[in-house]
């Protein structure tokens, strides 16, 4: 057992645009690939954006593209696996830049660990999250509450998991999430039946990530970046 020899720097980035964090991920993954940097967990909530998987460059929309533009939602291409998904305020996005080889972990074990982390968070709020053969991610019954998607190069990960805390669910109605028709999305607020504090979920996610992967979580701050003022 590796024990707590694994350490992960945790950054709470507040509310961000998808593209700025994407660039940050690429930089961190590149550093890690070259043997530098440290294992990192980036936590954020994005401004509204639809992201496309590498093999699905055409957005699987339920409405005309014009309608999406009217909502002011950006559509960007990501290099992760999977199909279209949505990120927006009220959704916790966790990006891990992890050297899986140094952790002795397979990619699919890592995916499973991310799902386990979300299941742990949901349990803290009395919600039973499960894996579902319908697809990766975490589900509450037949409703999907969290998505996973990874890009891996030289066993260094980027991208990760997105957990719906209390996002604008009407945005999900514009797409076929993960390319699956008839999929129903849900959120923690819906399942719990009351408001759920974003910051508490973020802290719980950090705790369960450390528990599941048996690593020490080391909070770090981004110089000149005040989370409290940036979180929308």
């Amino acid at each position: 057992m590796e024990g707590h020899s694994r350490a992960v720097g945790v950054y709470d980035l507040g509310t961000t645009s998808y593209s700025e964090v994407h660039k940050l991920q690429q930089r961190l993954q590149g550093q890690r690939r070259e043997g530098g940097g440290v294992d990192t967990l980036l936590l954020t909530e994005h401004r509204p954006v639809f992201t496309l998987g590498r093999s699905h460059p055409t957005p699987d929309l339920r409405v005309e593209p014009e309608a999406v533009r009217q909502w002011g939602i950006e559509i960007v291409q990501a290099e992760r696996g999977g199909d279209i998904t949505y990120h927006g305020p009220g959704q916790l996005v966790a990006y891990g830049i992890i050297d899986l080889r140094s952790w002795g972990l397979g990619v699919l074990d890592y995916v499973r660990g991310l799902e386990e982390t979300v299941i742990g968070v949901l349990a803290d709020w009395g919600v039973r999250g499960e894996r579902n053969e319908a697809g990766r991610g975490v589900w509450v019954g037949e409703r999907k509450i969290a998505s996973v998607g990874l890009n891996v190069r030289r066993w260094i990960t980027m991208h990760g998991a997105a957990l719906n805390i209390d996002p604008d669910m009407s945005h999900w109605e514009l797409i076929n999430p993960c390319g699956m028709r008839d999929i129903e999305m849900t959120s923690m607020a819906t399942e719990v039946g009351k408001q759920v504090a974003f910051q508490e979920v973020l802290e719980a996610f950090t705790f369960h990530f450390g528990r599941v992967f048996e690593c020490t979580m080391e909070p770090a701050s981004v110089p000149g970046h005040d989370v409290s003022s940036s979180r929308g």
Binding site: G81, L105, V107, E133, V152
Partner: protein, 392 residues
């Protein structure tokens, strides 16, 4: 010294993955550490890097599903010749290529869809075999001929008669145009053999009225509905091809029915509908094989296929749903009969030239709503058309 570009093992019983994209064309120069292709498995995109610098030669095209460890391409030093492929490959190495194409080893029935399996890049193919096209794999030649003989002679509305214990005298019509999920044909399996089920557009007026009356009565009282969907099986055929190579050491020969069986099982589980043991009936031209696999939701694709090949592990009567395969019979569509207290019965028809086959489901509408049934069929189609998820 040539170095290979292989499909990585991403862990957790991963059997294979999709070659999603080559970033460079065949013959391009690559630098050490440069990403050359992306493979995908479930929601993971893995970028495979060149271990050395050199000349990239692509062996497995984008879009193909390959097993873990498969050599997807090689990187050659300048002036180095292309090495032979491993003997396990289904492609014939150039040095051993016979002047007269040999009859290939039989492959499973799924290879009926072999045209959908991607081949080598054209320029590489030409270099290896300038005049001889890739040998066409004809599985079970006699059976292929028998299927081909009947497959294209039948016209819509023709009655098809075949005898299996499961259908036991139920004679269904060949129909080419099937409704999409959401449409339903009420009561079809409830008709008595001597009543309206034989009615066709050419039937006399009296018979048509009788057909209509029975149909109306059935739809008013029946709790059995049928629903059909067209599924492109070419990706599932690739999956079967990958599994065949992977499972050789386990002595299991996968069939397209195994993929369909697994997809149905996963879809039933995902939609939270009543699951339980699944039955499978493989109808052949002169006989049929039936068995049931219990605890099927907790079995992997290989475990379920192994159980199926061994004759099942549960009495057939205990199956709560059943898949009837007409895959090899050249029948374009058939409505399965729902009996034995089962929740649902599925009939997988033979694929057409486009690789698409009808999957028809009869289900108990008192247990499943029409919306649930439609979602179920939709999920089965998604799984069979993007079957990577079933490899895990």
């Amino acid at each position: 010294m040539a170095v290979s570009v292989e499909l990585p093992d991403l862990g957790r019983d991963m059997a294979g993955g999709l070659v999603a994209e080559w970033y460079l064309p065949d013959g391009a120069a690559v630098g050490a550490g440069e990403p050359v292709c992306r493979v995908e498995c479930a929601f993971v995109a893995y970028e495979v890097e060149a271990a050395e610098s050199g000349l990239l030669r692509i062996r497995r095209p984008a879009g193909s599903i390959e097993r873990v460890g498969e050599v997807l391409g090689v990187i050659l030093e300048p002036g180095e010749a292309l090495p032979h492929e491993e003997p396990s490959s289904r492609h014939v190495p150039v040095a051993e290529a016979p002047l007269v194409p040999e009859v290939p080893e039989p492959e499973p029935e799924a290879a009926l869809l072999e045209p959908g399996v991607p081949e080598l890049e054209p320029e590489l193919e030409l270099e290896l075999e300038p005049e001889t096209p890739e040998a066409v794999v004809v599985p079970f030649p006699r059976r292929f001929a028998a299927v081909a003989a009947v497959e294209w002679e039948m016209a819509p509305g023709d009655a098809v008669e075949f005898h299996t214990s499961f259908f036991s005298g139920a004679v269904d019509e060949v129909t080419h145009a099937l409704p999409e999920a959401g449409g339903s044909i009420p009561g079809l399996p409830l008709w008595e053999p001597d009543e309206g089920h034989r009615a066709s557009p050419a039937a006399p007026d009296g018979a048509r009225e009788r057909f209509q009356r029975i149909s109306d009565e059935a739809s008013a009282s029946a709790q059995v509905l049928t629903m059909s969907i067209e599924i492109d099986l070419s990706e599932a055929a690739k999956l079967v091809s990958v599994c065949q190579r992977e499972w050789q050491k386990h002595g299991v020969v996968p069939r397209i029915e195994d993929a369909a069986f697994r997809a149905i099982c996963l879809a039933i589980e995902a939609t939270d509908l009543a699951g339980g043991a699944g039955g499978i009936v493989i109808a052949e031209s002169s006989t049929d094989v039936s068995c049931a696999v219990g605890n099927v939701a907790n079995k992997t694709l290989r475990e379920a296929a192994t159980s199926r090949a061994a004759g099942g592990d549960t009495p057939f009567e205990q199956s709560t749903w059943v898949l009837v395969s007409l895959f090899g019979l050249g029948i374009a569509a058939a409505a399965p009969r729902l009996d034995g207290g089962r929740t649902a019965a599925f009939a997988l028809a033979s694929p057409g030239r486009d690789g698409c086959a009808a999957l028809t489901m009869a289900y108990d509408s008192s247990r499943w709503s029409e919306g649930s049934a439609g979602r179920l069929l939709g999920r089965i189609r998604e799984l069979l058309e993007s079957p990577c998820a079933m490899l895990i």
